[in-house]
């Protein structure tokens, strides 16, 4: 808001639209009032949307109607799937909602407030969840997975520490973070780990973010398939990867593959045993795993 109101010969000519998504965590309701108060203080209009509406009314339906992706109720997501899956799944839905409402408001850019610190944790989360090929979009300055709307991360080079100092110097009163992760999630373990390691090795966060700058994904030039949930490009690897090993393990442990049928299974591999539903067709590896967990438990 300071940049827009500056009276200089080079004005920042943007028309910001503010969006707040609620319903992501059960404790979020009390924060809406504080956010509205903040918006009134800066004399801006803020749009507040409950994420549950997305799942009930299917606002953003999958483009490919051949696959039956049924979205469950948000309360069932919270109670029946693991906390780590919940966090990841909800973050994908959140991003889809940003795109949806950016389009509705006529916006072609989305700015997020992710810092160096949060992105370093996000990079490790991506690696741990199997989203290694999506680091460029999820951690980079510009996220270009949507052809008409780009996400920018203007605070990417700023650490949480610097942010805290700025808040103190400018005497700002931020609303406390309402999206605090459960302590027993992969994301929270990584967040604590990064914070601890940063205390011992102060270059940890900057090193991780520099690593992210150098990471892309395998060549996907001829690939035009996108994951229905996270919108990242998907491509079936042409060599042995972990998904093959996991699928085979399941087959062997469940008795599908026995001594008598082993030779046939190996000859006909990849098999039709579906451990990862719709993988490489309409879903990426991680979204397929999440969907499988949701489908099984809801």
């Amino acid at each position: 808001m300071s940049s827009i109101s500056l009276d200089t010969h080079k004005k920042l000519r943007i028309s910001p639209v503010f969006l707040y998504l609620t319903g992501i965590s059960s404790s979020q309701e009390s924060f809406s009032a504080a956010i509205i108060e903040q918006a009134q203080k800066y004399n801006v209009t803020i749009n507040i949307l409950d994420i549950s509406n997305y799942l009930k009314n299917d606002i953003s339906s999958p483009s490919n109607n051949n696959y039956d992706l049924k979205m469950p109720d948000i309360s069932k997501i919270r109670s029946n799937v693991s906390a780590s899956t919940q966090v990841d799944f909800v973050s994908q839905i959140t991003q889809n909602l940003w795109y949806h409402f950016a389009k509705e408001f006529g916006c072609n850019l989305i700015f997020t407030a992710e810092t160096n610190t949060s992105l370093s944790t996000k990079l490790l989360s991506n690696i741990v969840l199997g989203r290694g090929s999506q680091i460029e979009n999820d951690i980079g300055f510009a996220d270009q997975r949507n052809s008409s709307i780009q996400i920018f991360r203007p605070m990417r080079e700023i650490t949480d520490e610097e942010l805290d100092l700025y808040v103190k110097v400018k005497k700002l009163i931020p609303v406390p973070n309402s999206n605090k992760n459960d302590n027993n999630t992969l994301q929270s373990v990584l967040s604590n780990f990064v914070a601890d390691l940063q205390n011992h090795s102060p270059t940890t966060i900057s090193t991780i973010c520099k690593t992210a700058d150098k990471i892309g994904s395998k060549s996907l030039h001829n690939c035009n398939k996108k994951c229905e949930l996270c919108l990242n490009l998907i491509n079936r690897p042409n060599k042995l990867v972990a998904t093959d090993a996991i699928t085979f393990s399941k087959m062997v442990s469940s008795g599908v593959c026995s001594t008598n049928t082993l030779a046939k299974v190996l000859d006909n591999y990849p098999s039709n045993v579906s451990v990862f539903p719709n993988i490489y067709e309409t879903l990426c590896y991680t979204c397929s795993k999440n969907y499988n967990e949701l489908d099984t438990n809801t």
Binding site: N184, K214, S217, D244
Partner: protein, 433 residues
């Protein structure tokens, strides 16, 4: 209430697989474990019929299980392989000398040929001696680099087609995390490859790439395999420890994250515009290297010259240290020459006395003392070092203008810098236990 085996064999389950969570009886677990490795070997096309394969053996659980399973599968599915054991003796008292006894037992149990190479024979130093000189920091760097080359040398001596290492899924997942934390993009790119090696080198394969460490322990336990399970005494300070601790915490939350991390490593790639070191051959020892002189040679030079930090960190620092050392050596030589000259000749008012007398010999004792007082301790130690004399004759670093450009652009550690995790063998170039 007994739980039936998930495969439907009719027996009661005896264990729950850490990898899949399925309850299996002992026999079905053995079969599943071995068959999954067979799947990895087959689909990964690791071996060809008739290949001579060296199994990197340390006596630890990973290499013991690997040797056992490879022998079993070789017979069961008629791979047609000729297997042998290759072991490296780093010279760590109370650790390696005990584990080598286990390797010898493996040799007898599996009826495989065994070749043992020692650091002492190859480099003239044991790890005990190295640690004595360099202290408890960075010793895994020395061990890992030397072991990697030692394995290559051993494999060349045995004339094998490839080296099979016992790196398991946990090792590879740790390596991915560690390389991200350290910003080692070059290693990150190749650390999940099931086969590693460049043209002209003997490739290394990882048949246990998708095998969980916990299942390896369980397999060894139920099969009553004999292995050595003590952690290396020099390992506690390794950086890999951070990655290992993180992985253990993550595994408690979600056991399948190990495979997810491996999948991430397999599907990420380095951007084209990022410059990576190119592989060439060391100008001294002719082994593969990303620099003109390989890391093993640089580290060895540092040890022999009493420069323990040489080779630790960026190669530009090593170059500066060496230049400084050589300057000091030259100054020392010049001083010695001057002193020698003064001893033998009489000087008066700066000019050579033409009488041919040596009367002023004693007055130069003070000058000698001043000269020796400026010498550093390392030079005192090296003065009687026969290794130094041999190596100084054989090795010398050449200045190169091209390296100056690289210095200013270098932002990463030297490619071959390595950390060794004692119980799990470190990165893809070291032995897993």
């Amino acid at each position: 209430m007994p739980i039936p085996c998930k495969t439907g064999c009719g027996k009661n389950a005896m264990l729950k697989r850490p990898k899949t969570g399925d309850a299996l009886c002992k026999e079905c677990f053995f079969w599943a474990f071995e068959t999954e490795i067979h799947f990895t070997i087959t689909k990964g096309e690791l071996f060809k019929r008739g290949d001579y394969v060296a199994v990197a053996a340390s006596g630890g659980k990973d290499s013991t299980v690997l040797a056992h399973v490879l022998k079993t599968l070789n017979q069961r599915y008629d791979y047609g392989l000729k297997l042998m054991l290759l072991s490296i003796d780093e010279g760590i008292t109370g650790y390696r000398d005990d584990s080598l006894e286990t390797v010898k037992r493996n040799r007898d149990d599996y009826e495989m040929m065994l070749k043992i190479l020692s650091y002492k024979d190859l480099y003239g130093w044991t790890m005990d001696e190295i640690v004595e000189q360099i202290g408890r920091k960075n010793n895994c760097t020395f061990c890992g680099v030397f072991r990697r080359q030692a394995l290559d040398r051993g494999a060349a001596m045995l004339n094998v087609k490839c080296i099979a290492t016992g790196h398991n899924a946990d090792d590879i997942a740790e390596t991915v995390l560690m390389n991200i934390l350290r910003g080692d993009i070059a290693r990150l790119k190749r650390c999940t490859a099931i086969t590693t090696g460049s043209e002209g080198t003997i490739p290394r394969v990882k048949p246990l790439k998708y095998t969980y460490e916990k299942e390896i322990v369980m397999y060894a336990h139920y099969k009553q395999l004999v292995y050595f399970s003590t952690e290396c005494v020099f390992a506690p300070n390794a950086y890999r420890g951070h990655a290992r601790a993180l992985l253990k915490d993550l595994e408690k939350v979600r056991p399948s994250c190990i495979m997810d991390i491996i999948y991430s490593g397999e599907t990420l790639a380095v951007k084209e515009e990022v410059s990576l070191p190119t592989l060439r051959v060391c100008s001294r020892c002719k082994f593969v290297s990303s620099q003109e002189v390989c890391k093993a040679c640089v580290l060895l030079e540092g040890l022999n010259k009493g420069l323990p930090k040489l080779g630790i960190g960026k190669s530009s620092k090593a170059k500066k240290m060496l230049e400084q050392y050589q300057t000091e050596q030259k100054l020392k030589e010049i001083d010695e020459l001057n002193n020698e000259f003064k001893k033998k000749n009489c000087l008066s008012q700066g000019k050579l006395c033409k009488s041919g007398c040596n009367k002023n010999k004693a007055s130069y004792k003070n000058i000698d003392n001043e000269c020796t007082s400026t010498e550093n301790n390392s030079n005192d130690e090296l003065s009687g070092n026969p290794k130094l004399n041999i190596l100084l004759k054989e090795y010398s670093l050449k200045d190169s203008n091209k390296d100056d450009e690289k210095e200013s652009n270098e932002t990463e550690d030297v490619i071959e810098e390595n950390t060794c995790a004692g119980t799990h063998g470190g990165d893809c170039f070291s032995i897993a236990f």
